[in-house]
């Protein structure tokens, strides 16, 4: 760790540290050098037009996508690699699973396991990955469903739940692994407008609990209210980042200003 600080000047207490992160799909370069710092315990909201690379960047953080260049660290560890004697070794699948287990992710399309009830969705990974006994996994799952206000839907199949309820179960499922970091990929974009509020309420509650969160979103109000940091991405780079309230009141960049004028 001290080596890292010396060689790469990584500030302390950073949950996520990105410098010059690049990602190409074939010939198309989606990320063209992303610089970003998310301190532990803070909430960062990423906004930007579609195709700006914000979802791709989020997926790089838990190694759903491999980066093509640059430096990307989660808790002072290279995402997907180990630095040993000055060389980057690709981590073994088992170690990759261990690291992913500490990073929760919530998807636009919920992706609840369709063949399991809400409760079983929450029990699966704690039992299979963490080896929790069934009874304990069950108690914890029920407590989490209670927290997102869906204890009465414990035995419902995903198909029987509304979009908002499915997303709240999905958030509870991510929480069931006790993650250090939660990634949200447009969590309310697939929801009917009247269902957005219930999901944002759960996320607001989470943000206050002190967990580190990175939220890709179009909900500017949410960003202003709970975000410690607002990041505007455009064309595969971070165009502007800063305090949400200041940035929304007085954007420095012309492109940020133009984007905000469309969405506000």
């Amino acid at each position: 760790m001290s080596d890292l600080e010396q060689d790469f000047h990584v500030p302390e207490n950073m949950m996520v540290y990105a410098r010059g992160v690049r990602k190409s799909f074939g010939r198309i370069e989606v990320l063209k050098g992303v610089d970003l710092q998310v301190p532990t315990g803070s909430v960062a909201c990423i906004i930007g037009p579609s195709g700006s690379g914000k979802s791709t960047f989020l997926r790089c953080i838990n190694h759903l996508e491999d980066i093509s260049g640059g430096l990307l660290l989660v808790e002072d560890k290279f995402v997907g690699y180990d630095l040993i004697d000055g060389r980057l070794h690709v981590v073994r699948p088992a170690e990759l699973c261990r690291r992913r287990a500490d990073i929760g992710m919530v998807f636009q399309n919920f992706n609840l396991f369709g063949h399991m009830t809400a409760l079983e969705n929450l029990m699966e990974a704690p039992m299979q990955v963490r080896g929790l006994p069934r009874a304990e996994a069950r108690d914890r799952a029920m407590a989490l469903l209670e927290r997102v206000g869906l204890a009465h839907k414990a035995d419902a199949w995903p198909r029987q739940l509304s979009g908002g309820q499915q997303q709240r179960v999905a958030i509870a499922r991510a929480l069931a692994m006790d993650p250090k970091l939660l990634l949200f990929d447009e969590p309310t974009s697939a929801l009917d407008p009247e269902l957005v509020g219930e999901v944002l309420a759960v996320m607001r509650d989470l943000a206050q609990s002190g967990i580190t969160m990175i939220v890709v979103t179009h909900e500017i109000g949410f960003a202003r209210e709970v975000g410690d940091q607002l990041i505007f991405m455009d064309g595969g780079v971070v165009e502007e980042a800063g305090n949400p309230r200041d940035m929304l009141r007085d954007p420095k960049s012309e492109r940020t200003r133009a984007f905000l004028s469309h969405v506000l």
Binding site: A101, F113, A125, V129, R159, Q160
Partner: protein
């Protein structure tokens, strides 16, 4: 419009169904044809119904039926295991594994079952002795091929490899039908590739795998009658043995057909309950299913049969 419109009330209007003369005539003709058929079958001496009754529960017929069932179950289990492995190879990122799986499916699904059966029966011509030797260690074991390859084992190997070609494609289609988001969600929870396949993908693929697999099992059960050519004592072979002696060919074929139909009916009912089990997450409350529906689905089963 003879009556004044304001006298007519909506509640008093009656519905007159259209006259369906064509349907009535066709139904009558079909019934007449069925009556003729039943009369012909009942009165034709060649059907010899008392003989059918005599052999229906004959010990050698029942032993043949037992062997047919044993063959079907064994081959289906082996074909599912081999098919799953081949399907996973086809979906693997390695080009070589993909090509191997493609070649397997191409050959074993493409070559006729009967030819494969006779080929394995004559394995001793190519390979008179089965032995395993390691350089430096010497021969570990050595057996004469004809001693190992009994007709039953030959049938199991040949038909399993053939059936696995079909199962591989069914399982591959099932696996690819599960949305990629399921795998992604599971991997962000820290589940390993193998665990995701076992716990998340395959259980959801089952709803696409079970219906065609049921058809395969039924086709296979009937296709096992091919093993008569290599003298495996199955249902058809035991009937053939009897009518070769007594010349009661038609009654014995009726006995055989009766048992095949009986087993197919039972299998179809089982398939219905299996489908209901894997579709249970589709329900909006309430169990569904029921024995009546099972029976109906058994007799209505006509989709996609090959053979």
């Amino acid at each position: 419009m003879n009556q004044s419109p304001h006298r007519l009330r909506v509640e008093d209007l009656t519905v007159v169904p259209p006259r369906r003369t064509g349907l009535l005539v066709t139904t009558a003709l079909t019934l007449a044809f069925l009556a003729l058929l039943v009369w012909a079958i009942a009165t034709n001496k060649a059907f010899a119904w008392p003989v059918v009754g005599k052999y229906l529960f004959h010990p050698s017929i029942l032993r043949g039926l037992g062997n047919t069932l044993l063959l079907t179950v064994t081959i289906m289990i082996l074909a599912t295991v081999i098919g799953t492995v081949v399907a996973i190879m086809r979906l693997s990122p390695s080009r070589i594994l993909q090509s191997f799986a493609n070649a397997y499916i191409w050959f074993f699904r493409g070559a006729p079952a009967l030819i494969q059966l006779i080929f394995w029966f004559n394995l001793a011509i190519i390979m008179p002795v089965i032995s395993l030797g390691l350089p430096g260690v010497g021969t570990l074991f050595s057996l004469r091929t004809n001693d190992v390859m009994t007709p039953f084992l030959t049938a199991v190997i040949a038909l399993s490899l053939h059936e696995a070609g079909y199962m591989a494609e069914i399982i591959r289609a099932g696996i690819t039908s599960v949305p990629a988001g399921q795998t992604e969600a599971a991997s962000t929870l820290g589940m390993s590739r193998g665990r995701i396949l076992r716990r998340i993908v395959l259980p959801q693929a089952m709803r696409f795998i079970v219906p065609p697999t049921g058809n395969e099992a039924i086709n296979l059960m009937k296709a096992t009658s091919l093993v008569t050519v290599i003298a495996v004592d199955d249902l058809l072979y035991s009937a053939q043995t009897i009518y070769a002696r007594t010349f009661e060919t038609i009654p014995l074929l009726i006995v055989v057909a009766f048992w095949y139909l009986a087993v197919v009916t039972i299998m179809s009912i089982g398939q219905h309950f299996l489908e209901a089990h894997f579709n249970r997450s589709d329900s909006r409350g309430g169990g569904g299913g029921g024995f009546g529906r099972a029976l109906r689905s058994a007799f209505g089963l006509s989709r996609g049969a090959r053979a």
